[in-house]
């Protein structure tokens, strides 16, 4: 029997990390305030530091070359740059250490320019102490960190188009022309979908596209198909589709939702004489019936009410004015003696080209009467008459009718809620699929593999649908034509040995990256889809057994920084630790430096990825180790880059404050502030306020 070779690696002593510290003078910007030589000397005494040096400009070509050489000469495996805002220079240093065969996550930039030298210029001693603390925290973090390997994923050169309306078919054809395989799924049994445009031209266009799609060798169409499940990540989704009586599993790189909207049915809760009050769709059937030979249109007094449902007053359905006018013309043509009256709130004759406007002119020529009504005084449909106030004359109108035709708003298909959940997309008030709010995400998935267009997003006329379709196909093609997706930022990983399958993490994940899977057929187990993970750390906080790791923001790294900060504090004033979300408070602190707004120097900042990662354990660790106050900085509500991280943080902090109070700790020692990234003044004020309050309360 041979022993596995991996056992040998366990026996060898793991080498303790060798940290190199590079203190930047930044000309005089840093060295003019902070005694850089003293800082360098202190840095050499920190645990793990084997090399510390000063540089005028480490970011210059010469500085970078010397950094690269120093890594090789002193066998450094962690590099700390004490310089300026990491946001600006981190990538530069990461690229440099990578050239020296070091993992880019092993370089850490701490800010002693904007956050020390620029704000504490009046107090050089305190500034030096803060700089030493900042460097010590950076070193502690590096020593505790483990590299996060970059995540790669393939991109399948197939696109899935949901819905075969005008926009769906247009996208499919455009992508197929670009050499990308396309699968079109349609819930009904014929291609063409729910085209709501009345123009014969649009219908012909759609039919022609359907023909072309059927004939195209790269397009596969599945009729009577429904999506059951979507898993995987952008670039490589696995979609389970119910097709007839079989379930297909398809791999695709991008998913394009272009399902149609449908006119709302008449609400059964509102009683009307249904033989005389019809919806536009029902009236269309009546008109079709009347065109059969020998049958004329029965009703003589027809009153059409546009924007019939209250909800439509907020959101224009784009196509129903066209439809209503079209039907009015048909009615007038079938029965020229009929009185056709249209009551409208606003007329929107959408679409591009003159055809729609011409229809409006034609309807007027044929004698259709138009009356506007006021939004707050909608027409009242009585037994025999429709009553409405004419806002032009201020006179009430009483219109007798044999037929009232209600133009109903377009609403999403019944299954759009299910689709939204499958794709992890938000829905708007009416239930349409909203486009993911790109700006609320970190720049990672600027081109995520899910696209929403046409009437899936909001009712669209044919021109809009076409424009959107071409735009989407261009974006989707660019996404699919990537060779692979790479993510270099850390993502969460779950230790299956520790996971109890409680499901907490799946509930709080903003991207549906965590799913529960079966283990041994009985228990469930959380699994992270790494390429969907944004790395916010919300799941790490809620995990009751601490089975989730997030390199960079781990349960080792933050407490290590807290301990290092408190160990190197020096004296003067209450000890305040600030956990700062890098998208808001950390940037705000940088801005305070740029604007040279001083705040007390006894505030040490710890950069966090998101307020979702503010962990009660870390805060308690800070208090246990002698911090007087913990200041938390998060994005304002509604601006979290990871969805709702800041609100989760707020909820957790409120609970923790109550717990602290119950255990005899003054809750004023913990404070959460909402800051925007450009809010330097607010940060400085919040920090000063907090320190004053702590001094007043005599906390400690």
């Amino acid at each position: 029997m041979t022993l596995p070779t991996s056992i040998e690696t366990h026996t060898s002593e793991p080498r303790s990390p060798r940290v190199g510290v590079f203190v930047c003078d930044c000309g005089k910007a840093i060295a003019g305030v902070v005694d850089a030589e003293a800082l360098r000397r202190e840095a050499t005494r920190l645990p793990g530091v084997v090399y510390a040096t000063r540089e005028d400009y480490p970011c210059s070509k010469g500085g970078l070359a010397r950094l690269q050489r120093a890594i090789a000469e002193h066998e450094l495996d962690r590099v700390l740059i004490a310089g300026c805002a990491p946001r600006l220079v981190e990538k530069l240093f990461q690229a440099t250490v990578q050239r020296a065969d070091l993992d880019p996550s092993y370089v850490n930039v701490v800010n002693i320019r904007e956050q020390v030298a620029m704000v504490h210029a009046e107090k050089p001693t305190a500034a030096l102490q803060k700089a030493i603390g900042t460097v010590a925290m950076g070193v502690a973090r590096l020593a505790a960190s483990t590299a996060a390997p970059a995540q790669n994923g393939r991109v399948v050169r197939t696109a899935l188009v949901i819905g075969s309306g005008l926009s769906g078919l247009t996208v499919a054809l455009a992508l197929a022309e670009g050499g990308i395989r396309v699968i079109v799924i349609e819930r009904s049994d014929n291609l063409g979908g729910g085209v709501t445009d009345v123009q014969a031209r649009t219908r012909e266009q759609t039919a022609a596209k359907a023909q072309a799609a059927l004939a195209h060798e790269l397009i596969e169409t599945l009729l009577n198909a429904h999506i059951l499940e979507v898993s995987g990540h952008p670039g490589d989704y696995e979609v389970k589709i119910e097709h007839g009586d079989q379930v297909l599993s398809l791999a695709c790189g991008a998913i394009i939702a272009s399902n149609s909207a449908q006119p709302k049915g008449l609400d059964i809760a509102r009683w009307f004489d249904r033989s005389r009050v019809r919806t536009q769709a029902e009236f269309e059937g009546e008109l079709d019936h009347a065109t059969e030979p020998g049958k004329n249109l029965g009703p003589k007094d027809i009153v059409m009410v546009f924007c019939a449902e209250g909800s439509q007053l907020e959101r224009c359905s784009r196509v129903c004015c066209n439809l209503g006018i079209h039907q009015a013309i048909r009615a007038k043509e079938l029965n020229p003696s009929a009185n056709v009256t249209i009551l409208f709130r606003e007329l929107y004759v959408g679409g591009i080209g003159e055809a729609y406007e011409a229809e409006l002119a034609r309807s007027r020529k044929l004698g259709v009467t138009f009356f506007r009504y006021r939004q707050d005084l909608p027409p009242v449909i009585g037994d025999q008459t429709v009553d409405v106030l004419d806002p032009l004359t201020g006179e009430p109108l009483r219109l007798p009718f044999d037929r009232v035709v209600l133009t109903m708003p377009l609403v999403p298909q019944a299954d759009s809620r299910a689709l939204a959940m499958l794709l992890g997309l938000p829905q708007d008030e009416a239930g349409f699929l909203a486009e993911p709010r790109l700006r609320l995400r970190p720049g990672r998935y600027v081109d995520a593999g899910i696209y929403v267009l046409g009437s899936a997003q909001q009712p669209a006329d044919s021109a809009e649908a076409l424009f959107q379709a071409y735009l989407t196909s261009a974006r989707a093609a660019r996404f699919i034509n990537q060779e692979r997706i790479t993510i270099e930022t850390p993502v969460a990983s779950i230790d299956p040995g520790l996971c109890t399958g409680c499901g907490n993490c799946a509930q709080v994940c903003p991207t549906l990256a965590i799913r529960l899977k079966k283990r041994d057929g009985v228990l469930s187990l959380s699994a992270v889809e790494v390429l969907r993970c944004l790395g916010c750390g919300n799941c790490v906080v809620v995990c009751p057994v601490k089975a989730i790791a997030l390199p960079g923001w781990d349960d080792l790294e933050t407490p290590a920084q807290i301990s290092a900060a408190l160990d190197t504090w020096g004296d003067g004033g209450p000890k305040v630790l600030a956990l700062a979300c890098e998208w808001s408070a950390y940037g705000a602190a940088d801005m305070a430096g740029v604007q040279r707004i001083p705040y007390p120097a006894n505030v040490r900042l710890i950069r966090m990825n998101c307020s979702a990662r503010f962990d009660s354990y870390h805060i308690l660790w800070a208090f246990l180790n002698g911090a007087d106050g913990v200041l938390l900085g998060a994005c304002p509500p509604g601006e979290c880059h990871y969805g709702l991280g800041n609100l989760y943080a707020r909820e957790r902090i409120e609970k923790l404050r109550a717990e602290l109070a119950a255990h005899g700790v003054n809750p004023c020692r913990l404070r959460l502030e909402f800051l925007t990234v450009d809010d330097g003044l607010k940060f400085a004020r919040a920090a000063a306020d907090f320190v004053t309050e702590l001094e007043k309360e005599g906390a400690g």
Binding site: V89, P426, G443, M591, R596, E639, H641, L644, V677, D678
Partner: protein
């Protein structure tokens, strides 16, 4: 290696370095505004001009951030010509820029005591392009760019509408040397006002397939003290 003389001292630098990089390397101070080490040189502000003395003919001014080190070049960073040019440039830059700490320090360094010029329209932006380049090269997003020409030139989003590519990272604000950058105004980055419906939507997004029921929405409402009828 390339050999050159800066301020009458001989130096040796690797090939491909710019004059500014060489000066920085040897501790010779050259003021800059639009230069940032993490970005490609731009040559926009002309504060880094140095005098290049040819073997024959008249000395001329070059922007050191974009001018490469050449074998045998003779460079003066503190000549009368260079200093006067910088002072004038600084005065012109200050004519537009507000009196921010950075610009005041620059004025002092360049010896600008009085600004004789006046911009027709007061705008602190000096079009150094740092924000645009940072957005492209550091963030990798390109949400903003320089639009229009001549005196109408300014930084904005495409078509001057809110950019959907902006991720709200604030790098542009941070890198702006004059403090001119108006974050929401320029990028269209909207501070989303909290509303119950927005949270409900967000809630649907985060809850995914696990429906926690309307209690979560209610909790959020209570937490944020949003009236029940809103949204």
């Amino acid at each position: 290696m390339v050999h050159l003389t800066i301020n009458e001292k001989p130096f040796e630098v690797p090939e491909g370095w710019s004059l500014l990089e060489a000066c920085r390397e040897f501790g010779i101070h050259v003021p800059t505004l639009c230069h940032h080490p993490a970005l490609e040189p731009y040559g926009g502000c002309r504060l880094c001009v140095v005098e290049l003395v040819p073997a024959k003919g008249k000395p001329r001014l070059v922007a050191s951030c974009v001018y490469p080190c050449e074998e045998g070049a003779v460079v003066r960073t503190d000549s009368e010509l260079a200093v006067r040019s910088r002072r004038l440039t600084g005065e012109l830059l200050l004519a537009g820029a507000y009196e921010t700490p950075r610009m005041l320090a620059l004025a002092e360094e360049l010896g600008v005591r009085e600004v004789r010029f006046k911009m027709p329209e007061e705008s602190a932006c000096v079009l150094c392009g740092l924000c645009v380049r940072a957005c492209r090269e550091i963030v990798g997003v390109s949400a903003i760019s320089v639009i229009r020409r001549g005196i109408a030139k300014r930084v904005s989003t495409p078509f001057q509408v809110a950019s959907s590519r902006c991720i709200g990272c604030g790098t542009c604000v941070l890198i702006c040397p004059t403090g001119a950058f108006e974050f929401s105004g320029t990028t269209g980055y909207q501070h989303v006002p909290p509303s119950a419906s927005a949270y409900r939507l967000g809630y649907y997004r985060v809850s995914g397939e696990l429906d926690l029921g309307p209690t979560f929405v209610k909790d959020l409402r209570d937490l944020l003290e949003i009236p029940q009828d809103e949204g």
